[in-house]
Assembly symmetry: C2
C-alpha cells in the first residue's frame, strides 16, 4: 500500500469540500472528513478542503474552535460539497442569506451536494432540496417538507446529485458509501478498516419506538424560537 | 427535557477533558467530545474542556485546524482525561517529554484516564499503562507491550481507572459506555439518540480475517521511522 496524496496521473484531484460555519457540531464534519482523509492517503487523486466564509477560528457547539483551510473563493471546484449540521446555530444559519448564497454558488460548482444532520436544513433553505427525497436529524425531519423536500427516514438518502445523511454520526456511514461509489468497495472497506469503523454501541441499536420523537416537540419549538427570534417570517414558516 | 449546562446543585461539575496536540485525528477527539457535549446539555453537572499546551491553532491530519479551550494549567481537575490519537504525529509525540510530563501531571489530577486510538501510545510512553490491559488502533497494537501494557483486541477495555479504545471511531462507543457508567443507561441511550449513533456501515462490519494486519507491517515500520527519525532510542525500542 502506498501512502501519498500526490496524484500519479495527470487528472486534477477530486476535491471533497466541507463547509464550516459558526456553531456547527464537530462530529458532523470530523466523521466524513476523516473518512475522505484516509481515502486521500490510500489512493492518489482525492483531496479534502474545509471551506468557510473567512479563514478564521469559529466556535462550535463544544469547547473546540475550528479553522477552515479555504474560503469559498479560494477552494478548487469540488467533486462533492458537504454541509455539516448542528443545533441552534445551524437553524440560525438558515436565515444567513450571505451563507446561503455562497452555498448555492458552491453547489453549482460541485458534482455532488451532500449534508450531515441538520446541514440539510441549510441546503433546503438555499432552495437546493425542492422535490428531493432527503433526510436530516430525526428531531428536525418534519421541517424538510416546509422547503419542498420529501423527508425520508434512512441513514442516508441519495436523490440525483444530492445525498443527505441522518443525524451527527450518520455522516460516517454516508462518507463510506460515497467512497465506495468513487473508488470501489475494496478501497471503501480499507478506509473503514483504517478508521476502525466496526461499531459496537454499548447499549445496542437505537430503539426508535421507545424514543418517540413526539415527546421532543417542545424541545424543537424551543430551539427554533431561540435560533430565529430575529427572523419572524422564517420562524413562522417553520412552526406553522 | 431541560437543556442547560448550568448545574442545578452545589457540587462542582464533573469535567471531561480532551487533550489536544499537533497532528491528531479530528474524529478521535470530536466523537467522544460530541457525546459528552450532549450529556452536558441533557443533564446538569457535566462539562467538557479541550486542553492543550497553549491556546492556539494546531494542525490536524486533515485540512482542519483546531484550537483548545484551556491549557493544562487552567483546566479544572478533570473527572476523566481522554487522549485522542492519530498517525505519524502521534507517534512523534511519544518522544515529546514536555507533553508526556503534562499528561502525567494531568492524569494524577483525574479520576479516570482514557484514550482513543493511538492516544494510548502516549499514555504508554508516559508510563501510565504498565501492567494494564489496554487497546489502541489495530495497526499499532503490538507496540503496547513494549511499555509493559497487555494488548487486548476489544472495542474498548477498562482496567482500573484506565480505559482505552480501539481506533478512531471507537471513541464514540467508549464515550457512550462512560456516559452509562456516569449517568446511567437511560441517559446514555438518550445521548446515543441525539448523536443518532445507529450505525449502518454500508459494507457491513469489518472482516478482520480478510484485513490480515500482517500485510500492513511495512506501513507500520514506515510510519515509525518517519515519526521518530530524530529519536533513535525510542525508535529502536519500538522496532526491535
Amino acid at each position: 500500500m502506498t501512502e501519498s496524496s500526490a496524484p500519479q496521473h495527470e487528472a486534477p484531484a477530486k476535491t471533497i469540500a466541507f463547509v464550516q460555519y459558526p456553531g456547527l457540531s464537530p462530529l458532523d464534519i470530523a466523521g466524513p472528513l476523516q473518512v475522505f482523509g484516509v481515502l486521500s492517503l490510500l489512493l492518489p487523486g482525492y483531496d479534502t478542503v474545509v471551506v468557510g466564509e473567512r479563514i478564521e477560528p469559529m466556535v462550535t457547539d463544544t469547547p473546540l474552535s475550528l479553522i477552515p483551510s479555504h474560503t469559498f473563493e479560494t477552494m478548487p471546484d469540488p467533486y462533492a460539497l458537504i454541509v455539516p449540521g448542528g443545533t441552534v446555530p445551524t437553524v440560525a444559519a438558515m436565515a444567513d442569506e450571505k451563507l446561503l448564497d455562497k452555498l448555492r454558488t458552491a453547489a453549482a460548482r460541485s458534482e455532488i451536494v451532500g449534508s450531515v444532520c441538520t446541514g440539510s436544513l441549510l441546503l433546503a433553505a438555499a432552495g437546493l432540496l425542492e422535490g428531493r427525497r432527503a433526510n436530516t436529524h430525526w428531531l428536525y425531519r418534519s421541517l424538510l417538507a416546509k422547503f419542498g423536500a420529501i423527508p425520508v427516514a434512512e441513514r442516508w438518502v441519495r436523490d440525483g446529485n444530492v445525498i443527505t445523511a441522518a443525524g451527527v454520526s450518520a455522516g460516517i456511514d454516508m462518507a463510506l458509501h460515497l467512497v465506495g461509489e468513487l473508488a470501489g468497495q475494496d478501497i471503501a472497506r480499507k478506509v473503514q478498516l483504517f478508521v476502525e469503523y466496526d461499531p459496537k454501541p454499548p447499549f445496542g441499536p437505537i430503539d426508535w419506538e421507545a424514543a418517540d420523537p413526539g415527546q421532543y416537540a417542545p424541545l424543537l419549538q424551543k430551539r427554533l424560537h431561540h435560533a430565529l427570534a430575529d427572523h419572524p417570517a422564517l420562524l413562522e414558516r417553520l412552526t406553522d
